[in-house]
Symmetry: D2
Subunit: 161 residues, 4 copies
């Protein structure tokens, strides 16, 4: 992987098992609209819940990333494909994984599933750049690179650009 | 009013006419819920729109208050009485006025009215303390006191505590 | 209590113990604002989470109230007093109880507490009327009256108007 | 175009000029997060504002589509590319156009621009299916097809599948 400038697709058959976090969501009334289903922008907030839980599972919190390391991960791209509506009071699971990453960029992938019948309600991904509090680009410190490499199921994080 | 320590009810028959700002709101689909009406927490966001427009009408912006003077006005109390539901795509007006103020506290009052028939949909008020960016109490600078006194229809702002 | 037309304050020293539900909330990034704290309208959404959990604890769900009995509980009044800011990633508990009720009206009371130090962040209450799907007033069916009377710590629900 | 089953890319050099609506947005404090910029899910709500204004400009309102024709346009795909942060109190314009459509599907495209310097803050698109109130697929009535064809700058709407 040394010297690779482009983004790396993480093969699902990688050396170690990729980490997939699971976050439970109960649909709030506030999240529904008059169509009787969840309004579509809420899925992106649930993806945030998933993303933060995945980071927590990797041993660090986004809160501390901001506080201790002055690291921010603003979005540059967000996408969601809606398969079936989420309904009021549904119990959902957000499954989150690291889809790709480089030292200046992370891509998270998400699946939104209804717990009662395991139906896939939506799929999405968000692309984030690494910045300081001034929103200027920064390089992800080594400890995060290691953790993300583990999460992505990569044997080594060396040589990632 | 000199030496008055308590909060001052502004008489509506005061010496000058109180300022009432009017902000137009178009109800968004995102703001409705599956009851087919606007979800109640959105009214407090519309009150924010009204409050900021009132300040703008008084000659300063809340944005500049934060940036230039490091002044913040976090809420300590918020209330809304709902008279009739706001519906999707309704055109509404938020009428905002300064109900009370002291040098460390401001109370705004709001009326939410539907434009088509002038029906009162909701009334509310929010109480704010004046703080710095550290959320510690501060005293409102003189220029704001003067503007708020004018907005409240008071002849003089002197002696306000 | 027979024949009482006004709203009934539930004495906390009532015959049976009032039910207080506890709902866990993890503050989402989406709920913060640029002051670095949770934006105030979100507290009302958290109160909704608390209210629904209290109903669930009493043996019925708000979802089924709407579906099976065509019962809705729109708000006529909402209030929150903010004591201390809620911060990103905080773990909070919403404690909800039935403060008052009649056959056409319910008042819920809320406390928002930070789990790490049990600090009270906010207190609130919401008043709801009972309606059909047409938002016209209805009378709460007996099974709900009984459950709410139990929740409120009242010995009997008889004679409530 | 007769017999074309796939989705139709609307050439920008089409026979008539495509309609691009412009919606003004003032950034609300509620829409910011503790990064000091607008939280990313709000862009999708602004796109809704743009979409509804475009329909209004074409001579019908989404509200009436739902009420009179029992037509709904739930999303199946939503995407946003973020170029620069939107800030509190910014005045923005959402430019909306019909990117593609068939009789069972509409794709809207959006540009989010800051008014002060015309800077492009974000681009997005949303894909909608046409359904009844039961969220089952329906075919777009002729009057909407005609209006959308005009909006897309197509000479004729005939033969669209």
């Amino acid at each position: 992987m040394r010297g690779c400038a482009g983004i790396l697709k993480i093969p699902m058959s990688a050396h170690s098992k990729p980490v997939i976090s699971e976050s439970r969501i109960r649909v709030r009334y506030a999240e529904t609209d008059q169509m009787g289903v969840v309004y579509h922008s809420n899925h992106f907030i649930w993806f945030e819940v998933g993303r933060v839980d995945l980071l927590r599972q990797l041993g660090f919190t986004y809160k501390q990333m901001e506080k201790d390391d002055q690291l921010f991960i603003p979005l540059v791209d967000a996408r969601c494909r809606y398969k079936a509506p989420a309904l009021y009071d549904d119990e959902l699971i957000v499954r989150t994984h690291v889809r790709n990453f480089r030292e200046k960029l992370i891509v998270f992938g998400y699946e939104l599933v209804r717990t009662t019948d395991n139906l896939l309600l939506a799929e999405g991904e968000t692309t984030h750049v690494i910045t300081g509090s001034d929103l200027k680009p920064r390089t992800l410190p080594e400890k995060y690179i290691e953790a993300l490499a583990g999460a992505a199921g990569r044997p080594h994080a060396s040589g990632i650009k």
